[in-house]
Amino acid sequence: MRILKRFLLGNKNFTREERKMERVKKLTQALSAGDQAECVTLAKELLAEGADLDAVIKEMTNEMREVGKRFETFEIFLPEMMMAAEAMMAVMDVFGPHLVEGSGVASRGTVLIGAPRGDMHEIGKNIVKLMLKANGFQIIDLGPNVDPLEFIKRAEEAKADVIAISTLMTTTMPGATQVIQLLNDKGIRDKYKVIVGGAPTNPDWAKQIGADGWAEDASKATELVEKLLGVN
């Protein structure tokens, strides 16, 4: 293998920098393949070699965006994207303690997400969560069946930027309305961007209930959050 690499690289010796680049390339490939164990091994090696973690994370984030695009076109399906996101999280666990404060990998914003009371369906919400994570947002997932006041309390605690509400049934759509009404009643509506989505919803309804935006799928939800928070 080493002989082959030398042949491919014009028979020159690997420099330390080239080895790192090789490893980063392997890491993004393993990430794309959802190979968590390989990602962790490579992450530890990069850490031991004193790699620029910000740069590595940036490469991984770019790769995750590509994974997201492949999912959007159904070149891959949800399990492949989930495995890639898991692998990314595992690498972040390795790097986490070694990232310095003020590092360039700071979150692009915090999104609190959940399904309203009575709604037990999560797949749509989970896909949005994965896509946002893949695009560098910090996510707080409240899960399904969330009390409207709980959305607000947890958003306050986490100093969230966005409250995202996903609903699958017409009879649970009023739960999203209640969150917005409570934000108004508490006089804190302007503190948060509220976005809504889900199978039975549409932009007219979102406008009618006073949401800041509606997205038809996970990819559009990411674009919407970026637009609302003014991050590229």
Partner: protein, 458 residues
């Protein structure tokens, strides 16, 4: 297997503990990948209606192994409900192959069908969408006027006395009662008082479902209710409550499941295996009498695309060939009513389902998300196609050829499908009959289908 209902309920409290995340990542996804590979299941886009019996049998074997090894996760107790191979065989053996549903002169036999069966499918009509409260009775009447209707899952309500219905809240109880009463009144007015009803879709919660069990004005024991499924292979105590109530009340229970193409099961192969496995979940976890299948595309919310027809055909054949369970196939179109596209879609779904051994549950238009966008006419065409396919003893090869011709007419339009018009625009609501322009379009498409080889009975 209601004979072991409480033992199954107990397993929801005593089965292996597991976080939901772990269930999906370590159990569901790896096992699905494993069985697809082991049984060599491969999607073939050229054959939306495959004729390969060994494919259907492989999907069945994969589904049994998947169900046995993965089990069903209860979200409330965080435990996995598991069954042995012997219990699976026992449940399959002891399940009835048909039921007499409905009442009196309106009663019908709802039974198992075989692949390429010449017995017409049992036809349940349903728009699966909400209607204006003021037009609910008229909409129910319009559906009940349909000649080939064997059962009805009526239009849903979004409002009760002008107020939004919210699940697990008082207006849901009110709306559910209004739905049940309006539907029962419609049955009487049309002269089909005993027709088989699957009701009431407005009730999402267990409490609302339980509140409409009444032999006089509500849901009777000759009717049916549904227990849904949480994505994927999950249940919860509310579902278990519904299952227990339906069994003790004595009505027929349908297992409502929609495996998601592109979701946790992956592509067409996994979606077909999962939808097949759902028959076992319905039979054994929720003690259901029949399976109502609505696999759908994650992006489009429909099941009339090429890969979706393949999925529908494969799991229907898997069940028809390897069990005597009762199944129906629920169509979800992309286009709205009042368009030729929805008629082609309904025809393709019905053709595929019927020849593959399923009964029919037709047809939800417009991605199943637009208020008032559903009419009886697209259901009528689907039922007529189903009867034609069965009566003429159509083979899968011919069905595949017609499905390909129909797909050529609409599959490129799926991402931007026209939304069509509302029930109120397409029907004379007071008379509950279709307007001439919609009826003309239906006749034109029916004639075109006849030209493709479908021999309609009338």
């Amino acid at each position: 297997m209601s004979y072991r209902m409480w033992e199954v309920m107990e397993r929801a409290n005593t089965g292996p503990f597991m976080e939901e995340h772990e269930f999906l990542y370590k159990r569901f996804i790896p096992k699905m990948r494993e069985v697809i590979k082991k049984y060599n299941i491969k999607y073939d886009p050229q054959h939306p209606v495959p004729s390969d019996d060994s494919l259907a049998d492989a999907v069945w074997q994969a589904a049994v192994e998947f169900f046995r090894e993965v089990g069903v996760y209860n979200q409330d107790t965080h435990r996995v409900i598991l069954f042995s191979d012997e219990e699976i065989k026992e449940a399959l053996y002891s399940a009835p192959s048909s039921y007499v549903v409905g009442e009196g002169k309106d009663s019908r036999v709802f039974g198992h069908r075989k692949v390429e069966d010449t017995r017409p499918p049992f036809c349940i009509y349903s728009p699966d969408i909400t209607y204006d409260e003021v037009d609910h009775l008229a909409a129910c009447i319009a559906y009940l006027k349909e000649p080939l209707l064997d059962g009805l899952c009526a239009p849903l309500l979004e409002e009760f006395m002008g107020r939004k219905i919210q699940a697990w809240a008082p207006f849901e109880l009110g709306g559910s009662l209004e739905h049940a009463m309006s539907l029962r009144e419609a049955c009487r007015l049309v002269g089909r008082p005993g027709v088989f009803l699957v009701a009431v879709g407005t009730a999402e919660s267990d409490a609302a479902q339980i509140s409409v069990s009444d032999p006089t004005w509500g849901v009777r024991t000759t009717d049916s209710r549904l227990v849904g499924s949480i994505t994927e292979m999950m249940t919860n105590n509310s579902m278990m409550n519904k299952a227990a109530h339906y069994n003790m009340y004595g009505c027929f229970t349908g297992s409502l499941t929609g495996a998601i193409f592109g979701g946790y099961a992956g592509g067409a192969e996994g979606t077909a295996v999962l939808e097949t496995a759902y028959h076992l979940k319905g039979l054994m976890v929720h003690q259901c009498n029949y399976q109502q299948n609505f696999p759908f595309h994650l992006k489009h919310g429909s099941n009339t695309g090429r890969e979706m027809l393949w999925i529908v055909s494969v799991y229907s054949q898997a069940i028809a060939r390897n069990t005597h369970l009762v199944q129906d196939s629920n169509g979800f179109g992309n286009a709205g009513p009042g368009t030729e596209m929805i008629l082609y879609e309904a025809a393709a779904h019905s053709l595929t389902s019927t020849v593959s051994g399923a009964n029919l549950w037709e047809h939800a238009p417009a991605h199943n998300k637009y208020h008032n966008r559903g009419t009886p006419l697209e259901c009528r065409l689907a039922a007529e196609v189903g009867h034609a396919v069965a009566n003429m003893g159509m083979k899968r090869e011919q069905a595949n050829e017609i499905a390909n011709r129909l797909l050529a007419k609409y599959e490129h339009l799926i991402p931007e499908a026209p939304l069509g018009k509302t029930f109120q625009e397409l029907y004379d609501v007071r008379k509950a009959i279709p307007r001439p322009e919609w009826l003309d379009m239906y006749y034109r498409v029916k004639e075109e289908l006849a030209g493709m080889g479908l021999e309609f009975p009338f």
